[in-house]
Amino acid sequence: MAFEPDTAAASVVAGTAKPVGSGKHKRFLLALAGFVLTLAFTFLGLLAITFFIGRIVPIDPVLAVVGDRAPKAVYEAARIEMGLDRPLIVQFFNYIGSVLSGDLGTSVSTGKLVADDLKRVFPATLEMATIGIIVGVLLGVPMGVYAASRQGNLVDQAIRVVGLLGYAVPAFWLGLVGLAVFYARLKWVGGPGRVDIFYDGLVQPVTGLILIDSLIAGERDIFFNALWHLALPASVLGFFSLAYIARMTRSFMLDQLAQEYVTTARVKGVPERLVIWRHAFRPILVPLITVIGLSYAGLLEGSVMIETIFSWPGIGNYLTTALLNADMNAVLGSTLVIGAVFIGINKLSDVLYRVLDPRAR
């Protein structure tokens, strides 16, 4: 469920968009303006929430700077210097200003700038989630299509149960059990970490994505070793993504197969395989993109839960470490970045929906 994006946006099923007549450009510009506006508001909301969370922390940020035994005068001076004597709204605008200029504060636990830390750890998460979503799409879409085309048979029932398991299994538990079975017992996959220890740090980070960096460096051994290590965590993420994608695909396909134009295709004598893939599947491609986008965003979020299990040096691991050390700058910075990426992907898939549907073109 940690991986379940809110499905409100995904429930936009094919057929809602209306044909556009004259004034296409004007409407497009209006839609664009509306989109930018809601995006801005959502980001503002995210900032307000992180700001608010930062204020309710029972830790006094001034004490953290000046120390417990600082004289009152020093304490007051520091407080004023940090802007904490100003009205909340001014503090909020200062906060927005510093976030926009890329200043997320310093991490107490690493002693470095949070922004730099995040830049370093984010690619690892991105890599894992990307492989995860690829697994999810490649397996989930055909599963959903197949289940819908054989509605009610045993395979369909099995796929439905897999879909529900995606709601019911804790990700961290699945990762743990996977590690015990596939790594420790069967030795099918690599263990924790992105590569074996003796490969660690051998590749010069260019993109931060080790699969790509190792290829750039021409290190095939490291590439395969990294893939070997990625296999399990990406599969765990892929499972949740495929459960969600298969369920949504199945439900979209059931809608489509009941459509009159699918009957038309059958009347024409079109073979069942083409009825399914050409007539029923093609119209759901667009809403499916939204679903995949949501699922991808969900995986970025969900990686938080399993990165600790796999000692994966990504943003999730960084966040959980920060949480345990009450390192609020790091916590809020990570929240902000994950939140922003999440919102970005969400809204982007929304826009793609509108752009790609031929009925809205």
């Binding site: 094919a14 009159e260 134009y261 059958r266 024409k268 004598g269």
Partner: protein, 278 residues
């Protein structure tokens, strides 16, 4: 007329429900030559189900059974799904009610018509294109090159239905089932669409099953009429002899048709008690 085009005896369509099986078509029998047969009935009378069961396109869990279901000497009852596909489109095809729903929204009109042809014949690409355009022209579409590139939502209902007809007739079937082909259209384009169907039928010598709820329309358009009610055929007659209909349901239907040159205070409503008790 040697063997009839279509022979149906005791056709049943059954749907299982939690409260036991329900027959929506109950023992329908008729034969059809290369003529125009109208099936009339109110919604739920089983007329559409009759049409679809000829193509064996009743969705599961519905079942079709019949003592006889012969098309041009072929027993359709024991045809496999694969063998039925060779018949659908190529030999029997169906024009459906509303082009808004029956045309695929994400395929261009040209693609959809070409598909109907290519499903049954291997043809060079150029010839396909030419035949699609010729077909569109023959359903009185003035600008076929442009229309072929449009998506269904970009054309009007009347044009959509002409596209539908073109698509269903391009493989030159022997039997066309038209399931309420004009009900979703404006009155002004209805007769035009009917003319086109008529013209094509005559030119190619096809059989036509015309399904409608409009008794007037059917009696003026078809050669023969079946009246259906609650899954059964209650009346069968030549179109011209409709006034002599005997079944109370048919008489009731005829009586409730308004006429231009009459002054009735009240249109009679169907009184179902006359036959419902049987």
């Amino acid at each position: 007329m040697s063997t009839p085009l279509l022979e149906i005896e005791n056709l049943r369509v059954t749907f299982p429900t939690p409260r036991g099986d329900i027959d929506v078509v109950r023992g329908v029998s008729f034969t059809l030559g290369r003529e125009r047969l109208g099936i009339v009935g109110e919604s739920g009378s089983g007329k559409s189900m009759t049409g679809r069961s000829i193509l064996k396109l009743i969705r599961a869990p519905g079942r079709v059974s019949a003592d006889r279901l012969n098309f041009d000497g072929i027993d359709l009852r024991n045809r496999s799904e694969r063998q039925m596909r060779a018949i659908r489109g190529a030999r029997i095809s169906m024009v459906m009610q509303d082009p808004k729903f029956s045309l695929n929204p994400v395929m261009t009109i040209g693609e959809q018509i070409a598909e109907a042809l290519l499903t049954h014949k291997r043809l060079p690409r150029r010839e396909v294109g030419e035949r699609v355009l010729a077909m569109l022209e023959s359903v009185r579409i003035a600008d076929p090159e442009r229309v072929a590139k449009l998506y269904p939502h970009e054309v009007s209902g009347g044009m959509g239905q002409r596209v539908m007809i073109a698509m269903m007739l391009i493989p030159e079937p022997d039997l066309l089932i038209a399931d309420e082909p004009t009900s979703a259209l404006d009155v002004s384009v209805q007769s035009q669409v009917l003319d086109i169907i008529d013209e094509q039928i005559k030119r190619k010598g096809m059989g036509l099953i015309f399904i409608s709820h409009d008794l007037n329309l059917v009696s003026s358009y078809c050669d023969r009429i079946l009246v259906m009610n609650t899954g059964e055929v209650v009346e069968e007659c030549r179109a011209g002899e409709l006034q002599n209909a005997t079944h109370p349901y048919t008489r009731g239907l005829i009586a409730s048709i308004p006429r231009l040159n009459e002054t009735r205070d009240e249109l009679p409503v169907l009184d179902r008690s006359a036959w419902a008790s049987k």
